[in-house]
């Protein structure tokens, strides 16, 4: 058991806000979210924060801890130095509602822009069949818990004024999971470039560093999508091949 100091941002967009310090006793095994609950109990019952599962699976307890986006329910207290003051802030990228809570609804709008799964017709016996090797790749993407830590971390959404032109890493993951799906028939490459802004990502990999599900966002979702965009729009040889032999370059590619 030891005494720990927290600097927590308190406030709202109307009245502004500032950091407030709280000191509590921390027991072995506690995570940051436990400490926030302890602070609510002892000092600040009106401190706003979001949480749900406390098991790293619902994705609601995202905040910034010592400047890094993290799930507060999965950040153990023993990962900090003895005597280190722990700074806790709401996410930077999305509008603050109050204290540690953000309005992340922009993400749901992005999600709606993506055309849904469009499977090929069922086999004659009424089944959809796919091989394990073919779905392995998309299964990685299904681990996403929509915590939006990657969205918060991405410098395009976080710090750039062209942010509205980029759907963000979470939705590149979703697009990859659809575009690489063995049953999907929709052609999404134009959308990947023009609607979702794949060209804006400069593959600096912060999203991958943030992901609590360890999805290899940049290497397995974004870069493969960028390569598919190159096939379609930037590779002169591919263009020539499509002209000479239409419909053969990639199963899903509809030729312009």
């Amino acid at each position: 058991m030891s005494e720990r100091t927290f600097r927590i941002w308190r406030g709202n967009p109307q009245d502004g806000g500032d950091f407030v310090e709280y000191t509590i006793d921390v027991q072995t095994g506690m995570v940051v979210l436990d400490c926030i609950h302890e602070i609510q109990k002892q000092h600040a019952p009106d401190l706003a924060c979001r949480w749900n599962c406390k098991a790293g699976k619902c994705g609601s307890c995202s905040m910034e801890i010592n400047g890094k986006p993290a799930l507060s329910c999965m950040t153990r207290m023993n990962t900090f130095e003895e005597g280190e003051t722990i700074t806790v802030q709401p996410l930077k990228t999305f509008p603050v509602i109050r204290d540690l809570t953000n309005d992340v609804s922009w993400n749901y709008q992005q999600n709606k822009r993506i055309r849904p799964f469009a499977p090929r017709p069922r086999d004659p016996d009424g089944e959809h069949r796919m091989m394990q090797e073919d779905v392995d790749r998309v299964q990685e993407f299904r681990k996403c818990i929509e915590c939006f830590l990657c969205q918060d971390m991405c410098h395009i959404l976080r710090d750039r004024e062209t942010q509205q032109n980029f759907a963000g890493p979470r939705f590149m993951v979703r697009l990859a999971s659809l575009d690489m799906h063995p049953l999907d028939t929709d052609d999404r490459i134009q959308e990947v470039r023009d609607e979702s802004g794949s060209g804006l990502c400069n593959i600096t990999r912060c999203c991958t560093e943030a992901c609590p599900e360890h999805i290899n966002i940049t290497d397995n979702a974004i870069i493969p999508l960028k390569e598919r965009v190159v096939d379609r729009f930037y590779d002169p040889l591919m263009w020539l091949m499509r002209k000479l032999k239409p419909g053969n370059s990639r199963e899903k590619t509809t030729v312009e």
Binding site: G11, G17, F19, E64, N66, G67, K68, P69, T87, Q89, P90, L91, K92, T93, P95, V96, W106, Q109, K112, R113, P116, R129, M131, E133, D134, M153, H155, I156, L157, R158, D159, R160, E161, T162, Q163, Q164, M180, H181, P182, G197, G199, L200, N202, I203, T204, R205, C206, E209, N216, D219, P224, K226, E227, R228, V230, D231, Y234, D235, R250, E251
Partner: protein, 324 residues
């Protein structure tokens, strides 16, 4: 079914034009992180910097790139040998033999205004290929966007340039040609592999003595191996690990497909290659650095042997010693 977006939905970004709240900062290079995030980009800069300085020096030097039977990777494939600067150029090793005298005169006229005499180094024709491969590599792009341009220098560190951000659209669309650099890089693996093979064959003269600088064309070649052969072969292994973990390679050999398995569940060659590539791809950064260091070391080793700073332990000198 298609969901269309209303104009308002797509127009507004995440913070809808507000300044950051929540105690966040926005000035260039500021962050709330308390860990020493600067170390990563600084080490990268140092690593790159020393490599660029070393390679530039060695390429411009145009000397000491061949010590029989080892050829420096910076000079491979050796297009021509330049007798002007190295009397012992391995003419027999060069694809086009000696550099024609006219070309040399032309070059000297071109650089006459320079205060120092630059050799027309065969390395210039070679280094352009690996340079364009590494320069457009997805890993190196990350590395220099972070450590050179600060876009961003570290995660949650505010970017240096605060103007309109275009990412890899516009000017940087050129990065999309990475796969073309990759095709050449794959060819280089075979070329360097061939050099590795040649490093087992010591050129000797009619009397059976090792080829020395200025010794003309060798009479024959004698099989053996030395520390230099091992250094050169490891170079091929590391460069291969780097090249065959390339994202564009991974895409071309299988990643572009959505179905690897046939309807009976059989997966073919492209799946196997794709799996192996994915293993290397996960270690792409590691191979990028190891191969960068090793190619530099290979060149240095040969440079050092040329100058007698290091004596190459090898089977040829052993047999020569026993024979005496």
């Amino acid at each position: 079914m298609t969901t269309t977006t209303s104009a308002t939905e797509s127009r507004f970004g995440p913070r809808q034009g507000q300044k950051p709240q929540g105690g966040h900062v926005s000035a260039p290079l500021t962050t709330q992180r308390s860990d020493p995030w600067q170390i990563g980009p600084l080490l990268t800069l140092l690593g790159f910097g020393s490599f660029v300085v070393y390679v530039t020096f060695r390429a411009f030097q145009g000397l000491d790139y061949y010590s029989a039977p080892y050829l420096s990777p910076f000079y491979s494939p050796l297009v021509y040998a330049n007798p002007e600067y190295y009397s012992g150029s391995p003419t027999f090793h060069a694809l086009l033999g000696n550099l024609p005298a006219e070309a040399l005169t032309m070059w000297q006229q071109m650089i006459a205004w320079l205060p120092l005499a630059l050799p027309l180094s065969p390395a210039f024709f070679i280094l352009i290929f690996p340079a364009s491969f590494r320069g457009t590599c997805y890993y190196y792009r990350k590395a220099y966007y972070r450590s050179v341009v600060g876009s961003p220098a570290g995660c949650t560190v505010c970017p240096i340039a605060q103007g309109t951000y275009q990412g890899e659209t516009r000017l940087l669309l050129i990065q999309n040609l990475h796969r073309y650099a990759m095709y050449f890089a794959v060819a280089f693996i075979f070329i360097l592999g061939y050099d590795g093979w040649l490093s087992l064959w010591m050129p000797v003269d009619a009397q059976g003595a090792s080829w020395v600088a200025g010794g003309g064309d060798p009479a024959t070649y004698q099989f053996g191996f030395g520390v230099g052969s091992v250094v050169m072969m490891l170079n091929v292994v590391f460069l291969g690990g780097y090249t065959f973990g390339c994202h564009s390679w991974r895409h071309m050999i299988g990643g572009r497909l959505n179905r690897f398995a046939s309807s009976s569940g059989e997966t073919g060659l492209s799946y196997a290659v794709w799996k192996m590539t994915s293993w290397l791809n996960e270690r792409h950064m590691l191979f990028a650095w190891v191969s960068l260091f090793w190619v530099m070391f290979t060149d240095f080793y040969i440079w050092a042997v040329c100058n007698g700073w290091i004596t190459d332990l090898n089977s040829w000198s052993q047999t020569a010693a026993i024979g005496q």
